[in-house]
Symmetry: C2
Subunit: 265 residues, 2 copies
DNA sequence: GCATGTACGGTACGCCATACGGAGTTGCTT
DNA sequence: AAGCAACTCCGTATGGCGTACCGTACATGC
């Protein structure tokens, strides 16, 4: 647990932190903290006030220790963020692909990720940058998602891309949805207020003559919905696209359709 | 152009900045700078060294002015980022849906966005947070994307969701692709180095027995591809899903095809 | 019992965005 | 022509941040 110089971005150290390998020292004073306590304090802060409010000082204060004491347990803030991410990912339960069928299993993953982002809005700011850190939960999730599309006649590359497609979609939608109500309008003014206040200006700037389609859609009230109102809609289409691929890879099936007694619905 | 107190997030001021409405003053000394020069300097810095290197000091230095002079033209850094975003979005040309057909037009949009993110990797960090600022280019793009799916028998809400689906997918994929080679591994160590250095540890941590599917896909070399290798693949599936929807919304077409003299296309 | 390696954390450095206010400049008003 | 209001430019200062450095206190192994 010794503080290492680390210069910049040390993979070994970061992985050891994520997987909690690395023996504790025998020599010095007893440790008053744990990585877990630090991570959970950090998560609480981020949940409550956003990533912007998450500072090493704030974490230390919440734990009643000096700021620099954190660095005994964690090499730096970047690594703390990685562990936070991997930790909350553990909240998602991993569906059993074999029992559910690929479509339902993928759907469950999508919903779980979406819901996770509601509970911890800051994850969307993290699963952009370098989440490929392969912590234990990330790894377990990768295994689970890939397993949903295994044994469907896809190549390994196609499997990875199909999973990547669903992930990309979910992240893309969730991002706007979450960022809008969060620190999007960085501080001050809520989403509603901001929108209400800018509408008169927008109505002057965005002339129906120049933007007919946009104003038509606008007039239909579409943009007054929650920003992720289309989540289910888009997910269905994505899965439809995947389904078409899978069918095309198993051309024999529809022909031999009469064989099993029940092809449910 | 007077500096306003602005407290926090002023919609009117921000919109005026984006649309360049707002008369210039008659009274004081001639202005030595323009919003455009500031924005372009900022874009150059972000292109070269990433958003992390973009500070008000850096912009001012590049322009050879004092830091605080920038605040005469721009209310703050957040607003500068908004204008930067809207500005680079103008690099994308907007395909003509009527001439190309919806699928090709949507494809062009997707490719344009993807390519934009290669040229300006920092945009992916911005099109999460509150880009709904409705600057001129953002608005023009919204009109263009919606127009691609107009007149296809979809409701307004469906139109918005279809566009949202493609956008979400493109952003999701592009994000990982870009963030990986960029400041993902925040500073120091390139992507290749980092991966090479962590592989031995990962091979010890990720046992094939526990993660059979992942290791199988891994062994197939899928993860050695560029992180957005699946871009075209996923896009095709997304468009397939949309195509199925559109077909289902025009059930009458094949049946009643003979009625009007020319149902174009 | 002493050396060693560790935990803790105060202080300090160099960044950052930006509030404030003064000095100099311009053009309108009288 | 004079005065003043509005404006630009920007030096200084404030309060934040991550974290390097290092002194002090402590627990163990020898």
């Amino acid at each position: 647990m010794a503080r290492e110089k680390s210069g910049r971005a040390n993979p070994a150290r970061t992985l050891a932190l994520l997987w909690r390998t690395g023996e504790e020292p025998t020599r010095g004073p007893k440790q008053g903290l744990t990585v877990d306590r630090i991570v959970h304090a950090a998560i609480e802060i981020a949940d409550a006030d956003g990533l912007g409010a998450l500072s090493m000082r704030a974490v230390a204060e919440r734990l009643g220790v000096g700021t620099m004491s954190l660095y005994t347990y964690v090499p730096g803030k970047a690594e703390l963020l990685h562990v936070m991410f991997d930790t909350v990912l553990g909240e998602n339960e991993l569906p059993d692909a074999a029992g559910l069928g690929w479509r339902t299993a993928l759907e469950r993953h999508a919903h779980a990720d979406h819901a996770l982002a509601q509970r911890h809005p800051w994850v969307v700011q993290l699963w952009g940058p370098g989440l490929l850190l392969m912590g234990p939960r990330i790894t377990a999730r990768a295994e689970s998602t890939l397993r949903t599309v295994a044994h469907l006649g896809l190549t390994e590359t196609e499997m990875a891309h199909v999973v990547g497609l669903v992930d990309a979609y979910v992240r893309g939608v969730t991002q706007v949805a979450v960022d809008v109500n969060r620190d999007a309008v960085s501080s001050g003014v809520g989403y509603e207020d901001w929108w209400a206040e800018s509408t008169p200006y927008l109505e002057r700037l965005i002339q129906p003559a120049h933007f007919p389609t946009l104003t038509r859609v606008w007039a239909a009230g579409t943009y007054e919905e929650a920003p992720d109102a289309g989540f289910e809609f888009g997910l269905r289409l994505v899965l439809d696209g995947i389904e078409a691929l899978i069918r095309s890879r198993r051309p024999a099936e529809p022909i031999a359709a009469a064989e099993p007694p029940a092809t449910q619905e």
